[in-house]
């Protein structure tokens, strides 16, 4: 008998066969293995028995009483509810997350500065607040009005304009065409004056004779201060609110309303004649006050005067 056979034998039974006993007498390794095996079994078998506590039956009875389905506040629907309720909770949670996601996506989405009337792509401004070029709307085309000049081909030479030029169609069109481009100044010019036009807009004059104006204005055009105030005030305020307006028969008339703008939500329509902004009549003069926010508009629609209060976004 080999040592391996012997060890296998005493692994399974402490009672040795006659052959194993003969091997054990002659093999010191197996003698040691046998001794350790018996000692180990003695130690394991000699461990004290751990008993259950005295209140084991009482606790068990209580657990069975608690766990008995017939005694519990259960109903035939209970097994189904076990799955339906968590499933419903998960579905509700997913719905809330999805709706929240849609809401925030909608909040972040900047409304396209697409005019209600204008469908043609306008090449100029890169920022939403920059005044856009006036393109003829389908209505205007139908009325036979001339399309404004292309700002890209307009030379950047100073225009000769009378400072006290009356507020009319031509002035407004030129003003619109001047906007929409922003100069890239290689070296920052020295700013020599910071005039406050009273409307919160910054128009700076540089040392090289150029005017650094708000985005969308032509900084190279040396427009007299008075004209800047007169021509940009009303149109800029209206543009901030999404209204493109131009003088028509010496009356500021709404040409287009930007989609999803506060003006559109508040009910401003194309063709409305703007008589007053925030209570100040539109006369071609710059509006008083520093606020550029349109809060109320007094309009004339189909011969009826109407006051529109702008609704804040919800």
């Amino acid at each position: 008998m080999s040592c391996r056979d012997f060890q296998n034998e005493i692994e399974e039974s402490s009672a040795l066969s006659r052959e194993a006993e003969r091997h054990l007498e002659d093999c010191p390794d197996c003698q040691r293995f046998h001794f350790e095996q018996l000692r180990l079994l003695e130690m394991l078998g000699g461990l004290p028995r751990i008993e259950a506590p005295k209140d084991f039956d009482f606790q068990l009875k209580a657990r069975i009483a608690r766990g008995r389905p017939a005694d519990g506040p259960t109903s035939p629907l209970f097994p189904a509810l076990r799955y339906v309720l968590p499933l419903s909770a998960v579905l509700i949670l997913i719905s809330i997350i999805a709706l929240s996601g849609l809401y925030f996506v909608g909040e972040r989405k900047v409304p396209e500065p697409e005019s209600v009337e204008s469908k043609n792509p306008v090449p100029a401004p890169t920022e939403t607040l920059a005044p856009k070029d006036e393109t003829p709307s389908p209505n205007e085309v139908a009325e036979g009005k001339p399309a404004p000049e292309n700002p890209e081909v307009e030379p950047l030479v100073p225009k000769k304009e009378a400072p006290e030029k009356p507020f009319n169609d031509e002035t407004a069109r030129k003003r619109k065409n001047d906007g929409g481009s922003r100069d890239v100044i290689s070296a920052p010019p020295k700013i020599i004056s910071v005039p406050d036009d009273g409307r919160g807009s910054n128009v700076f004059s540089s040392s090289d004779g150029r005017t650094i104006g708000p985005k969308g204005t032509d900084s190279n055009r040396p427009i007299p201060e008075q004209e800047v105030k007169t021509t940009t005030g009303v149109a800029e305020m209206l543009d901030f609110s999404g209204i493109k307006a131009a003088p028509e028969n010496d009356r500021m008339t709404v040409r287009s309303v930007r989609k999803n703008s506060i003006a559109e939500r508040s009910g401003v329509r194309v063709g409305d004649v703007i008589e007053a902004i925030n209570g100040d009549p539109v006369t071609g003069e710059p509006l008083s006050g520093r606020s550029v926010t349109v809060k109320t508009l007094t309009i004339l629609r189909k011969g009826q005067r109407k006051e529109i209060t702008f609704q804040s976004q919800q």
Partner: protein, 210 residues
């Protein structure tokens, strides 16, 4: 089934106890199925201590062992209809207890609430374990025996999970190889191999006590 009968008092229990003790496990289960709560009480009486001992050796945590022993009986009680007499009831109940113990160990590993290193690893300085309070001054031999017992318990507890169950069932509980294989749902060869391997590991851990 009226569980209230489980704790009947007085002469009624005394009268029925004699006959119940003579019944086999299968007969007790059948009686319990027929509504005899005393029969189930006898089942509990037969197996509560062996199960508690087995689970304590497995988990090395007395409270947990008692809890799982009770849980074993609860599961047996509510699954009587699914019990088949194809194999011994002791195999059936030990299998439930083993599965609960293995699940508990897995939960512990996941939760890592109880420090497995502190609880199951062999550490001579470790003294935290279940110890009934004993204010007596022990003689030196008793102290040494007590220390050796604790070392053996820790050595078992530090065995890998797959070796712990087989060696406890075989060498502590005294089950046969076949019973161990049935309880743990292992092949006979695998069972023998694991027991042999567990003994070798224990011999290495306890070499100072040979």
């Amino acid at each position: 089934m009226a569980w209230d009968k489980f704790e009947n008092s007085g002469a009624e229990v005394l009268q029925t106890a004699v006959s119940i003790e003579d019944l086999s496990d299968h007969e007790l289960i059948e009686s319990t199925k027929n509504g005899d709560e005393d029969a189930f009480a006898e089942i509990v009486n037969r197996y509560r201590n062996p199960l508690t001992n087995y689970l304590y050796r497995f988990l090395y945590d007395y409270e947990e062992a008692v809890d799982l022993a009770q849980e074993t009986f609860v599961r047996v009680y509510f699954a009587l209809d699914r019990y088949h007499t194809d194999y011994a009831f002791s195999t059936y109940i030990y299998r439930i207890a083993s599965n609960l113990a293995i699940s508990e160990i897995r939960k512990r590993k996941r939760r890592k609430t109880l420090s497995l290193t502190g609880l199951f690893q062999y550490d001579e300085t470790e003294t935290k374990e279940f110890q009934p309070p004993d204010e007596r001054t022990l003689p030196e031999d008793d102290l040494m025996e007590d220390e050796r017992r604790r070392v053996i318990e820790r050595a078992i507890a530090t065995l890998p999970d797959k070796y712990r169950g087989p060696i406890i069932l075989r060498d502590v509980e005294g089950k046969t190889y076949e019973e161990v294989a049935e309880i743990l749902e292992l092949g006979l060869g695998t069972t023998k191999s694991r027991i042999s391997r567990a003994r070798r590991l224990l011999r290495d851990k306890l070499e100072h006590y040979f």
